[in-house]
């Protein structure tokens, strides 16, 4: 894949580039500001952009804003946002534009290289990758909520589904058959009163929207 890295810290940018090169991907540009990010997307049309949230000049949430802006100008451009901390507020904002190809992960996740590369490839293909911590934040829900009626296994499946994993992935990570996952998913949607949904990005959106009470 052709990747651009938007990261102002040279140390992290080099690390990321090393990791991606090792995994056989090509880093076509490394930039450090929101404007350069814009230009790089327009110029290179990368398969995916990996973006840090904090960028100059204010080092706040420029990365989120820039990602939303870039997606407005280049609909469908896959973007993976990385951050030292995650806030479900930002996840909601990133997903609000609709369409697939969005990821939002803690920088820590980079350390699990194969999982990180999986997420990267999933997003590049138009899928979703939400950090488990975002989902954990969303799952701290009110008392007497339909989520309480889920079995522990169904909660696991729900979390993985919300993170953007496919039924195949979920089956693999829970060591069950795909059919079992399919059944759990059906139960979950019935218990939460959501219309049955196919796999993929739309399903993630439906679950996340439900969890954030939108």
């Amino acid at each position: 894949m052709r990747v651009i890295i938007v990261e102002d810290s040279v140390l992290l940018a080099e690390g990321l580039a090393l990791l991606l090169n090792t995994e056989g991907h090509e880093v076509v540009a490394t930039v450090g500001t929101a404007e350069e990010f814009h230009r790089a997307v327009a110029g290179h049309r990368p398969d995916i952009a990996v973006v840090d949230i904090r960028l100059p000049p204010t080092f706040r949430d420029e990365g989120v804003r820039a990602a939303i802006q870039v997606r407005r100008d280049h609909p469908g451009q896959p973007i993976l946002v990385l951050s030292q901390y995650v806030e479900q507020t930002y996840a909601t904002e990133l997903l609000a534009g609709g369409g697939g190809g969005i990821g939002y992960l803690l920088k820590d996740r980079v350390a699990r290289v194969s999982e990180f590369v999986d997420a990267l490839e999933r997003v590049a293909k138009g899928g979703t990758a939400m950090d488990p911590e975002v989902i954990a934040q969303l799952l701290v829900r009110r008392h007497a909520h339909p989520i309480d009626s889920l079995t522990p296994r169904e909660r696991e499946v729900l979390s993985l589904m919300a993170e953007g994993h496919s039924n195949t992935d979920i089956a693999a990570s829970l060591v069950v058959t795909e059919r079992a996952v399919h059944k759990h998913v059906g139960n979950i949607f019935a218990k939460l009163g959501l219309p049955p949904s196919d796999s993929g990005h739309r399903r993630v959106l439906a679950v996340l929207a439900y969890l954030s009470g939108v």
Binding site: D61, Q84, Y85, E87, T89, D108, A111, Q137
Partner: protein
């Protein structure tokens, strides 16, 4: 001006009503002090001092009502054994200030009220001048520079008299009230003591915070980094001879770095939450609300950016309050209102739970109070049994 004089008179008369209480409290104190050569006296002394505190608090409330601000003092709590109680009660400088105030008030109370009542008496007397002329009274009863012997003279004299008395009296009475109540405040709630206490508390809290962060970094992140470095060092040495062992060590090192990152994130969150830096108080409070198990309605319109320290204080207070709501209140919903009026930031957290929140119940309310008072702010908690519970804090933000 007239209304102010009326209010001043009311406050001064209330102050006058305190005089008998002052006398009683002083007498009781003197008697118990004399008795304190005996055991009985030692037992009674703290009670006498409590009585003083009670009377002083009434005076504070009256002064506060006139000055339009809270006049408060911090007392050392009187607890423990007989001797400890006596030591605390007599060792608290405010005890002696209270006593001084009570003694002073026995003099100033009647003076202030006398002056105020005198004003109204004089006005009444002035109004009665026509009667005096009209009624057959002994001539020497009216001491005026001129004789009141015609309606024309009465018509001039009465307005002149009322005008003079009013012009002077309506100004002087509020001034006297202001002076007396300011004096009361200076004695009963000395500013340097309040500030010194707050500075001490703030420094204490800050020091504890620094020590906690130091400990967390030292015992946590730093120790983990050392262990990571060691593992990587060993892996480097055994790589050629025992690649499997090296791989296991490297995996351990990676897991350890992940734990370190989580830990650092928690420490940073406890110091100054990143979302606060990114989005200011409104964004951070919205994120808190979204994370609360109890549905929270948030109103933060017009708050904007504030000094970082104030934002952090308000954030932690609201976070703590929402944690309490989730843990103790059994509420089904809560509201957070943050408003900025002039140079003050007001934050209010209300829930529809069962009420009866207890300051001493380890609910973090003491921490909230400490945090807020370090900023010279105010904390008010209302939580009647059955609810609703409202925690309100005010912080200066300029």
């Amino acid at each position: 001006m007239v209304w102010r004089a009326v209010r001043a008179t009311g406050r001064l008369v209330l102050d006058l009503l305190l005089v008998p209480l002052c006398v009683v409290a002083l007498l009781v104190t003197v008697v118990t002090m004399v008795l304190s050569a005996t055991y009985l006296g030692l037992v009674l002394l703290p009670f006498a001092i409590r009585l003083n505190r009670g009377v002083a608090s009434l005076a504070r409330r009256n002064a506060g009502a006139w000055l339009g601000e809270r006049v408060t003092a911090t007392y050392q709590p009187i607890r423990g054994g007989v001797l400890t109680r006596v030591r605390v009660a007599t060792g608290d400088p405010q005890t002696w200030r209270d006593l001084g105030f009570l003694a002073l008030h026995v003099v100033t109370g009647p003076l202030g009220a006398g002056l105020a009542l005198g004003l109204w008496g004089a006005l009444g007397w002035g109004l009665s001048i026509p009667l005096w002329w009209f009624a057959p009274l002994p001539e020497h009863a009216i001491h005026l520079p001129w004789a009141l012997d015609s309606w024309a003279r009465v018509a001039v004299t009465v307005p002149l008299f009322l005008g003079l008395v009013g012009a002077v009296g309506f100004r002087v009475v509020p001034l006297v009230a202001e002076g007396l109540f300011r004096l009361a405040k200076a004695i009963l709630a000395p500013r340097h003591v309040r500030l010194a206490e707050r500075v001490t508390e703030a420094l204490d809290a800050h020091g504890q915070e620094l020590r906690r962060i130091e400990r967390d970094l030292h015992d946590g992140a730093q120790a983990r980094l050392v262990s990571i470095a060691m593992r990587l060092g060993i892996a480097e040495r055994v790589l050629a001879d025992d690649p499997a062992k090296a791989a296991a060590l490297i995996t351990e090192a990676r897991l350890s770095t992940e734990e370190t990152m989580t830990e650092l994130r928690d420490i940073i969150r406890g110091m100054y939450p990143p979302i606060l830096a990114d989005r200011g108080l409104p964004g951070a409070v919205a994120a808190l609300a979204a994370r609360s198990p109890v549905p929270v309605d948030v109103e933060t319109a017009g708050v904007g950016r504030l000094p970082a320290a104030v934002e952090a204080a308000a954030y932690f207070v609201i976070a703590e309050a929402l944690t309490n709501v989730a843990r103790h209140s059994r509420a089904s919903s809560a509201q957070v209102r943050v408003r900025r009026t002039g140079n003050r930031l007001e934050a209010e957290v209300t829930d529809d739970g069962r009420g009866g929140a207890d300051e001493d119940g380890g609910s973090g309310l003491a921490g909230i109070r400490r945090r807020v008072s370090a900023f010279d702010g105010e904390t008010t908690l209302t939580s009647p049994p059955g609810g609703p519970t409202t925690l309100r804090v005010e912080l200066p933000c300029e």
